[in-house]
């Protein structure tokens, strides 16, 4: 079991109010991802759950019990650190076994669990090596192995893949997702990476300045962002925000249009625009344009587009996928 519930959790460092008060429900078996800009308090929130920092107020309930006064080890959680934090003087085997030894498990049990974890993570051949003699991806797997063997109520990950190169990151992302599917243990995962958040999460928590901006399934956040911040944060390239007359005609202060929800034509359309830069990625083309009367916009078109600087084009936003926001940046839901 691993249901985690935060009630009015606060954290201050001196006078600095890093987390002014967070309420959050994480259900057993869920894969929850914290995203938000750098410095918004993602790591801090994770460390509060882990018990590596004391809360300044509020409650943290794990399976219904308040754990704010429990030591990290007593909370039954495992953490995977961004820097891996492997013990450099121990072999892979001992790194994975350390938590079990501390818990006073018998040698036989330790052996079995470590072998088992090594098996899952393809580490069997490396058990006698030290971390210094492993590649980044292997180190990452050792760190995960160390987390697995303790059979935790939940896993906590703090940007675990950010030190890996792009292709390895994709592999590890899939491995962690597979791991979640087979273990069905709660996972709380902090990341900067959009793609990780969208692909791995059951539930995304968007944070800004220590506040929860929105909680929901990835597609829910994508389709129905609660405010401008979430709308701008989720999705890549970033949503276009248009103010002024064009937005006013549609009963909004700010109108949000995702770059992928705009049709492009060289002949006719709703908005006339001039191409400034065209980025050709092969499968798709990003067009950075200046729309007449509106200003700069980004458009994402599928496939190749034989366009370049100064070309005149016409844009037609998908009317069913417009996002309307009021002057405070809140989404307008009424028609």
């Amino acid at each position: 079991m691993g249901a985690i519930r935060l009630e009015k959790v606060r954290k201050t460092f001196g006078n600095l109010d890093v987390i002014p008060g967070v309420d959050l429900d994480i259900n057993d078996g869920e894969f929850v991802v914290f995203v938000g800009p750098s410095g918004c308090g993602k790591s801090t929130l994770l460390r509060l759950i882990a018990g590596l920092e004391d809360v300044s107020g509020g409650k943290i309930l794990i399976d219904g019990t308040d754990v704010v006064d429990a030591s990290p080890a007593k909370r039954g959680l495992s953490m995977v650190f961004q820097s891996y934090a492997l013990y450099p003087h121990m072999t892979v085997y001992n790194n994975i076994a350390f938590g079990l030894k501390m818990a006073g498990e018998s040698k036989a049990v330790i052996e079995e669990k470590v072998r088992n974890a090594a098996d899952i993570l393809n580490l069997t051949d490396y058990l006698d090596r030290r971390p210094g003699a492993l590649s980044g991806g292997q180190r990452q797997r050792v760190a995960i192995g160390r987390a697995i063997v303790r059979n935790p109520a939940a896993f906590l990950f703090d940007e675990p893949l950010s030190n890996l190169d792009a292709s390895l990151r994709v592999n590890m992302r899939l491995e962690i997702t597979a791991l979640h599917q087979s273990l069905k243990t709660t996972m709380v995962y902090v990341t900067h990476d959009q793609v990780e958040a969208m692909t791995m999460a059951n539930k995304i928590v968007v944070l800004q300045a220590g506040r929860v901006e929105q909680v929901g399934a990835p597609m829910e956040l994508y389709n129905r962002p609660a405010n401008k911040f979430v709308a701008g944060f989720i999705g890549s390239p970033k949503m276009n925000f248009i103010e002024g007359a064009y937005a006013g005609q549609r009963n909004s202060h700010t109108l949000g249009i995702r770059p992928e929800h705009i049709a492009v034509s060289t002949e006719s359309g709703e908005i006339a625009a001039t191409v400034k830069i065209a980025e050709h990625l092969g499968a798709e083309t990003y067009l950075h344009v200046v729309a007449d009367d509106i200003g700069p916009m980004t458009v994402r078109a599928t496939g190749e587009m034989p366009l370049g600087e100064h070309d005149r084009i016409w844009l037609t936003p998908d009317a069913t996928r417009l996002h309307r926001f009021d002057a405070h940046g809140q989404a307008i839901t009424a028609p």
Binding site: L52, A73, F81, A85, Y87, H89, F98, G99, A103, R150
Partner: protein, 277 residues
């Protein structure tokens, strides 16, 4: 920023020059060692004899036979190693706490420790002497060991602190997540990672304690006297026993010179309180 020379000739010429300078600086030590193998007469001969004398080990034998050299050497070992070990127990725990659970006052505590090191020993000579006299600690190994320990404690804390600071905090947090209690965390995680730092701290402190010559000269006479005091006894003007003085001196400095050569890199950090690395 090592400079390379354009012509090999310049390289050789500069090397020769550098070696001449180096040998000049080293000469007193070389001369002392050489003299220790001479007879007393050869030692004071004029002109000085470089290699063409009758080499003898008699001085080494005699230093021990006449003045019980090994008693003093033993005291030096006991005092320097003992004070270092006691110091380690205190300094490791203190530096650990300061590096990994710092509070607002940690920095001030560290600087205060440093400032105690700046206190000239003469400032406290009188009371320490009187207290030692009244408590029967004069010429007592335990007493002088405590003084050496306290004298070097700030340096040990500082050195260890700078080493511990370099250990990633994450790893200790990982240990904490793994359920290690504080003592286990220190024993299984911190200490193994800190071994190089602790070793060099030990070496530097053995050197400093071995060569300490203010308190050892003032607080010991014979029973607890280490080599510093033993060598000082050769300063009496009656008779010139240069060869024996040299033999005793060579034995007194050899072990520490070797340790010093090994720890030269760490020395800079230790002696500058981490200000130069």
């Amino acid at each position: 920023m090592e400079k390379t020379f354009k012509s090999p000739l310049k390289h050789i010429a500069f090397s020769v020059f550098a070696w001449l300078v180096g040998l000049m600086i080293f000469f007193p030590i070389f001369w002392m060692v050489l003299t220790s193998f001479k007879s007393e007469l050869d030692a004071i001969s004029m002109p000085p004899m470089f290699f063409d004398f009758d080499w003898t080990l008699a001085n080494y034998v005699e230093v021990q036979a006449r003045s019980n050299y090994f008693k003093f050497a033993m005291n030096s070992v006991v005092l320097s190693v003992g004070s270092t070990l006691i110091g380690l127990v205190f300094a490791v725990t203190c530096a650990w706490a300061m590096a990994f659970s710092p509070t607002k006052r940690t920095k001030n505590a560290l600087l205060w420790m440093l400032s105690t090191k700046m206190m000239p020993p003469v400032g406290v000579l009188v009371p320490i002497y009187l207290v030692f006299r009244d408590w029967g600690l004069l010429d007592n190994r335990f007493g002088i060991m405590m003084v050496l320990f306290l004298m070097n404690l700030p340096i040990m804390v500082w050195m260890l602190y700078t080493y511990f600071k370099e250990i990633p905090k994450d790893i200790l947090e990982a240990a904490r997540m793994d359920g290690a209690t504080m003592p286990k965390e220190i024993l299984f995680v911190l200490l193994p990672m800190a071994v190089p730092g602790i070793a060099s701290t030990m070496l530097l402190n053995i050197i400093l304690a071995w060569n300490e010559a203010f308190w050892t000269l003032n607080l010991t006479t014979s029973d607890a006297a280490p080599l510093t005091a033993f060598i000082a006894s050769y300063s009496s003007p009656e008779g010139l026993f240069w060869a024996k003085l040299s033999a005793a001196s060579t034995m007194a400095v050899a072990p520490i010179l070797i340790i010093g050569w090994f720890s030269q890199k760490q020395l800079v950090r230790g002696l500058t309180f981490g200000a130069v690395k």
